[in-house]
């Protein structure tokens, strides 16, 4: 499966420009480069090799490293080699390695917040159906789903950073920074991103819970004298978690591939921002590296979700 994801990503992002008539050597070198030099670049990057050879060289480079050779000109790319940035000459892995902690931290914090807030709100709304609480929560949720991150992000920064001065956002984030700096910088992105997703989860949880609460087995549980908290948590919520987990797996995967808007709005140097910068610089290897990672993240997140089904729903285990 991983190989299929690799091949699809490689094809789309490395071969399509070539098939569309765009010379990758020109992307690498710039327009004003002579034919002889372009030929040298093609040899070095292996651009004249058959597609499958190029793909195999690329895949092999990930676990084993790779040498880019043009006569005496040899550039070694250590494992895991995803190629070299056209712009910075740095290995793509360095970019991914630097960006990953930021994206992971953003995703982890936002996920916890939106799952907790979204599911709790959804459950409460379902239990208090038709009340002011329910209507207010769902109105706010509608707002959350409708408002794009760049809008809520700018408003949040305008209020909490510029007007009230409660939060100080760092110029950039790296693993050298203190936990305090990370928390200060990430708190608003977490909330903004969680607001967007929590809203959707609240609506999803509410709808699912309402459906489940009307099921016969819930009535049976209550009839047997089971306490309401146990009915809600052990029976209703557990059943409701299956569709929530499915959506969560997809969302988490997408987020791990880079929250492009959130990272751009808050200038968080994660995978999403790296992708945006690479696209604007036509830096194909970095685009490929980030996309590959995003595709893998989605695949892995879905695999984990599939495994988790068995934990939360015994029917899956039995089946």
């Amino acid at each position: 499966m991983v190989l299929v994801v690799l091949l699809a990503t490689f094809t789309i992002f490395f071969m399509l420009p070539k098939w569309a008539g765009q010379d990758i050597a020109v992307l690498f070198a710039g327009k004003a480069t002579g034919a002889e030099q372009l030929a040298g670049i093609r040899v070095k990057l292996g651009l004249d090799d058959p597609v499958l050879v190029q793909f195999w060289d690329f895949v092999k480079g990930i676990p084993m490293g790779r040498d880019y050779v043009n006569g005496n000109d040899v550039t070694h790319c250590a494992a895991p080699c995803f190629g070299y940035s056209f712009r910075t000459e740095a290995p793509v892995w360095d970019t991914l390695k630097d960006a990953l902690p930021v994206t992971l931290a953003l995703a982890a914090g936002a996920c916890v917040l939106w799952l907790a807030a979204g599911v709790a709100t959804g459950v409460l709304s379902a239990l208090k159906r038709g009340t002011v609480w329910d209507r207010s929560a769902m109105t706010i949720a509608l707002g959350g789903v409708s408002l794009p991150v760049f809008f809520t992000g700018m408003v949040a920064m305008g209020v909490f950073v510029h007007s009230l001065g409660w939060v100080k956002i760092a110029d950039s984030l790296s693993t050298d920074d203190s936990i305090g700096t990370w928390l200060q910088t990430l708190i608003l992105p977490w909330i903004v991103l969680a607001f967007l997703n929590a809203a959707m989860y609240a609506r999803l949880t509410r709808a699912t819970m309402l459906e489940i609460l009307g099921e016969d087995y819930i009535r049976t549980a209550r009839a047997k004298g089971l306490g309401e908290p146990a009915v809600i948590t052990r029976h209703a919520l557990r059943s409701a978690m299956t569709p929530i987990l499915t959506v969560f797996g997809l969302d988490l995967g997408v987020l791990l591939g880079g929250a492009v808007l959130t990272e751009s709005t808050f200038n968080l140097p994660g995978l999403g921002l790296a992708a945006v910068q690479a696209i604007s610089n036509k830096d194909l290897p970095v685009i490929l590296g980030v996309t590959l990672f995003a595709a893998l993240a989605i695949a892995v997140a879905n695999l984990v979700v599939d495994l988790l089904y068995a934990v939360i729903d015994p029917r899956v285990r039995l089946g």
Binding site: A29, G30, A32, Q37, S85, S264, P269, V276
Partner: protein, 591 residues
């Protein structure tokens, strides 16, 4: 039914949302030529426009810069962005460079590593320089003529040293016989025959044919020395070895650049660089609106990119901090190329009809008004280029940019198209306001019967579309809208790719009008051979008149922008040589 308490809650919630919306939209309001007085404590509105604001020689502090875009490369031979060239004077030096003067004075070339400007002999084909005493690298070793030669030779290694301008290569070795230092079989890797280094202090350039702008090419960072044993090839961009007053402490591409003092640099050897701050800290941040806010809050002093503030930023800046704002004049000209091969633009009268029918003042408004858009253009050359004049054959300035429909119709009659005609215009959709401007032109020309169809193109694809005469013909384009700035401040630097028939190319073509005029080609040859910039300017003036008289290429705006000047900044002035950016090498932060 909601209770009264729930109504109150809803009202409070609604008020919060409205307040939030107001907070945001207040920044995105209208724009224009606002003259209200601001409340900041800057040096005054336009204080750095053509003059020095907060003149100071005090050293110390950290100059804090922010930019959306990183340097295209930190390697002097690979960079092509104007802001990179401006920034590079912190750590690179050239034989000659631009004078540390405000406005037009900055375009004067003055000696930097060299003791004097070039001694030009052999009918303009030989340029000789002597290096100053005491010029050193960051390790204290002397900068020699061989280092200069080696640095320039790197331009030839285009498979490794990608990007960057080619002017030195084209003028020293037009047949590309040299293969670059990495493939050089000579032991010292100094095999380029067109450059001689008889001793460590002397360097001689031998051109196959004269070019009066040759010193301009040497003033670009691509003319910088590189120390051979510190050359890391393609990776040199990650940490260039400094010859200037600052050296790299760290560089994280697309994130952060930190420069600190190079203690081996001596002010006595460098009459150009003020070297006032102790440290230069550059943050690359993707959110332009946020960058503007933080500039206005004093977190940063100046925008590295120098492309002007965002719409929301400039409204706040002009209204509330007018004293900290400069209305910079860039060297960019917004233009419409009238394609001669597209009928009926093969007829000069149909081209002239477009000049008369265009509402230049209207286009100016669409581009952001006089402050954020720019001034109405008459000459094809920007104000900062010698050769620019007040010549205004279509009365554009006289009519304050308004159209003359009667004359337009008269020209259409002479063209044999009294009822007008139909054609297509291209505009780039990733260039702010360009499509809107093309649509405004569409409406204006429609009033005299010229029916325009606007084709919005992805800016990244234009070189393959408008840059290909074949594609232009196949798609039936009659006009292209775009903007253009010079690589170096001369008529050649601005106009040769645009108007010289010998620059017409099958792809990547910038002679979009497809002008094939022997008189224009001849004027370029004459001006380029001229080593006196003033005399060359006179020839470019003649060339400008020729293009306007033939209605080949219609300039409509000399671009301006609103630039934030942090109140801490000292010694700050707009430099024409750097396309209307501040001269970064002169900036300080301690009053």
């Amino acid at each position: 039914m909601p209770t009264s308490s729930s109504k109150r809650r809803l009202a409070a919630g609604a008020a919060l949302v409205v307040a939030a919306l107001v907070t945001t939209t207040a920044c995105g309001g209208g724009d224009g030529d606002d003259n209200s007085k601001g409340s900041s404590k800057g040096a005054g509105y336009d204080a750095a426009y053509n003059k020095i604001a907060n003149a100071s020689t005090k050293k110390g502090g950290t100059l804090k810069m922010v930019g959306k875009q990183d340097l295209d490369s930190a390697d002097p031979q690979r960079a092509y962005y104007g802001m990179s060239w401006d920034f590079m004077r912190f750590y690179t030096r050239q034989l000659v460079t631009y004078a540390p003067k405000a406005g037009a004075g900055s375009t004067e070339l003055v000696p930097d590593l060299a003791t004097d400007n070039a001694k030009i002999t052999d009918g303009g084909k030989t340029y000789t320089y002597t290096l100053r005493d005491g010029v050193t690298w960051e390790d204290g070793s002397p900068i020699t003529s061989k280092d200069v030669k080696y640095g320039i030779e790197r331009i030839w290694a285009k498979d490794t040293i990608t990007g960057g301008p080619q002017y030195l290569q084209q003028n020293l070795d037009p047949k590309l016989e040299y293969k670059g230092p990495y493939k050089d079989k000579a032991k010292d890797k100094l095999g380029l025959k067109a450059i001689e280094t008889p001793d460590d202090k002397t360097i001689v350039f031998k051109l196959p044919k004269p070019n009066g702008d040759f010193e301009q090419f040497l003033a670009m960072p691509s003319g910088s020395p590189v120390k051979q044993d510190k050359d890391t090839g393609a990776k040199y961009t990650q940490k260039p070895f400094s010859a200037g007053p600052y050296k790299f402490e760290s560089y994280k591409a697309n994130k952060k650049i930190v420069l600190v003092r190079n203690d081996k640099w001596s002010k006595a050897s460098d009459p150009i660089r003020a070297a006032l701050p102790d440290k230069i800290d550059v943050t690359i941040s993707a959110n332009l609106e946020e960058n503007d806010k933080r500039l206005m809050e004093g977190d940063y002093d100046v925008d590295l990119n120098g492309t002007g503030m965002t719409q929301s930023g400039r409204v706040t800046a002009v209204q509330d901090h007018r004293d900290s704002v400069d209305n910079m004049r860039t060297s960019f000209v917004r233009y419409v190329a009238l394609i001669h091969t597209a009928k009926p633009f093969d007829n000069v009268h149909c081209r002239k009809a477009v000049f008369y029918a265009t509402d230049f003042a209207g286009l100016q408004q669409v581009r952001g008004g006089k402050l954020a858009g720019g001034d109405i253009a008459n000459s094809t050359l920007p104000v900062s280029i010698k050769g620019h004049s007040d010549y205004d054959p279509y009365g554009v300035i006289e009519r304050k940019g308004k159209p003359d429909a009667a004359k337009a119709k008269d020209e259409l009659k002479q063209c044999g198209k009294p009822g007008g005609f139909s054609t297509k215009i291209t505009a780039r959709n990733n260039n702010p306001g360009e499509v809107d401007t093309a649509e405004a032109l569409q409406e204006q020309l429609g009033k005299v019967g010229i029916k325009l169809e606007v084709d919005a193109l992805d800016g990244a694809e234009t070189s393959a579309i408008t840059g290909s005469p074949k594609v232009v013909k196949a798609r039936g384009y009659g006009m292209t809208m775009s903007g253009w700035g010079p690589d170096f401040p001369s008529g050649q630097g601005f106009g040769q790719p645009l108007w010289d028939s010998r620059f017409l190319a099958d792809t990547g073509n910038y002679n979009e009008s497809q002008i094939k005029d022997k008189k224009i080609d001849g004027l370029f040859d004459k001006a380029i051979a001229e080593t006196d910039p003033e005399a060359a300017g006179k020839i470019y003036e003649e060339l400008d008149k020729r293009i306007l008289d033939q209605a080949d290429w219609m300039p409509f705006i000399y671009e301006k922008n609103i630039t934030w000047r942090g109140p801490r900044l000292t010694n700050v002035y707009m430099s024409d040589a750097y396309n209307g950016r501040y001269d970064y090498a002169s900036l300080g932060v301690v009053k």
